[in-house]
Amino acid sequence: MSKREFMQGNDAIAYGALYAGCRFFAGYPITPSTEIAEKMAAELPKHGGRFIQMEDEIAAMAAIVGASITGVKSFTATSGPGMSLKLENLGYACMTETPCVIVNVQRGGPSTGLPTGPSQSDIMQARWGAHGDHPCIAVTPSTVREQFDETVRAFNLSEKYRIPVIIISDEIIGHMREAVNIPEKGELPVFDRVKPTAAAENYKPYNSSSGDIPPMANFGEGYRFHITGLTHEETGFPTNSGAVADREGKRMQRKIDANYDDIVKVEEYRCDDADVILFAIGSVARSAKDAVDTARESGFRLGLMKPLTIWPFPDKHVAKYSGKIKGILVAEMNMGQLTGEVIRASAGKFNVKGLLRTDSEPITPSQIISEAENVL
């Protein structure tokens, strides 16, 4: 029997991380994510792990990458302004294929913005914030229980695919309290990175002969190797070769793209006979779900597509409704970051409209229903 607790969304992320085997957290105080750091500061030592509050957001991101290369699962948590600072070493984690998890509890932006107000305006930053072409995995919980589960899944994906995974939450989910059934040990899968089996002297940290995801050795266990953010050979040492940059860049992208079905998780609610499908993540998905049920009471057949993975974008899930629906209404707390992606994924086969709100107030079910009527 799992334990039932009344829990805050940010705390659920902390407990999810511990469940996933995380034993290191480095952070910096920032609203509205601070409770995650506070919870980790209190809980990690009990589990044999360590917490550190670093001098800035950049250092916190660097520290979790450092801890991870010794084999310790690590994460950090922040919000918009801090996320902007994380991007430098987020790119480093992508380039060096170091597993780690970054939480962004979104608030209003740009810049210092609205620190205590919700927003969903960092969707594109998560995907493209770090410079250079790189793959991205980002998950988007919308309930307190999903904050827990998606954190576990974020760690698993990170370990499995050797990639930093971003949890995109928002101020509403982060600070909301709900009753949650805490999963027992063994109830959710926990994945640990694949370690090399080759003799230490033959180890090449980016050898992809057995697949696009190279086994990863820990620092300090006899596999002496080099890590750099420069373009590198399979040996880990830098190169100026354009051919290697091309080959390795495409391998890194392919390791994610080729595993769409394993990575992309979408909850489809009453979509089978829907005329209009709502597309929403995070706190907006909660209003959207309510809108579906309410609209159907008066005969308006709405459905909800709620991605729990937003990057890679659920293209296939969107495209499959071609010819089956009149259109999609994207409801989001920004100026259309997801709407543009849904339009792209729809390939012009059905109408796509955006219900966009940027006044730091939640989107309501009634707003969604009246806007959905315009999609018909």
């Binding site: 290191f24 044999g48 360590r50």
Partner: protein, 271 residues
């Protein structure tokens, strides 16, 4: 008797990228001898660096090596040390890497007193990008971004480290090879955060704009101007002009960060 460096070098990665006359080869050899002398195993030793000429050094050294982002190596190293405290961690970087873009990480690592040994290879210039002024370029000296001479005051890196709370601080030069090796051994053996500032030369980026175009010029300048504390104290103010103190500058005992943390939080090592 010649010393055999091969055990510690990734020979296939040589020759190194440094210019003729650069002091970093001398420093790398002293680093190898110091590690060998104190008996650290290659498997248990991590060498982290940031970006710049100095930061290319770990690539040539057969240890657990990580070439991180510009200025951030101490933050990465802090994560490594906290995750696996039994590892020996050396961090190295240049004056720009450590005191400009990485200045915040430097002062906080000093303050925390985490058991990491930092080597700052100070050549007073951004060498890799072609000779722009750094926070340690002396007033009036020329750089590509100070074509009329440096107009900002320079950092005294050792003083900065002492002020920020480093528990071991020493300064040496790439000319004073025996002292450099000795200071490295002492700093590596020190429990807590140690800073060793190594004054070096950059004929390409700094020397040729500042009347030190040949490799020997910088070494000779180091030879003439580096003085011991005793000698410095015996000098008149006029004699002190342009001189800098080398050797051990500061050594104190203060609780080390990871040990203090583990004690304070009563870490559960059974978990």
């Amino acid at each position: 008797m010649s010393y055999n460096y091969k055990k510690y070098l990734r020979s296939g990665k040589l020759p190194h990228i440094w210019c003729p006359g650069c002091g970093y080869g001398i420093i790398m050899k002293a680093l190898i001898r110091a590690i060998d002398a104190i008996g650290w195993s290659q498997n248990d030793t991590v060498i982290a660096s940031g970006i710049g000429c100095a930061s290319r050094m770990p690539g040539y050294l057969d240890f657990n090596t990580i070439h991180t982002t510009h200025g951030r190596s101490l933050a990465f190293a802090t994560g490594i040390k906290l995750a696996k405290p039994h590892l020996k961690v050396i961090t190295l970087g240049g004056d720009g890497d450590m005191s400009a873009i990485g200045g915040n990480h430097l002062i906080h690592a000093c303050r925390r007193n985490i058991d990491i040994s930092l080597l700052i290879l100070n050549n007073n210039i951004y060498g890799m990008t072609g000779g722009q002024f750094s926070p340690t370029t002396p007033l009036g000296k020329r750089a590509t971004t100070a074509p009329y001479g440096m107009t900002e005051s320079a950092f005294d890196l050792s003083k900065l480290a002492i002020g920020a709370g480093a528990t071991f601080v020493a300064r040496t030069t790439s000319f004073h090879v025996a002292q450099m090796e000795d200071m490295m051994k002492q700093s590596f053996s020190h429990k807590g955060f140690s800073v060793l500032e190594i004054i070096s030369g950059c004929p390409t980026g700094y020397g040729r704009r500042n009347a030190q175009p040949e490799a020997w010029d910088a070494l000779e300048w180091q030879k003439i101007n580096a003085v011991s504390l005793n000698r410095y104290e015996a000098m008149t103010p006029e004699e002190r002009d342009g001189k800098f103190i080398t050797g051990l500058l500061h050594n104190e005992t203060r609780p080390e960060y990871v040990e203090s943390y583990d004690k304070a939080v009563n870490i559960n090592n059974e978990a």
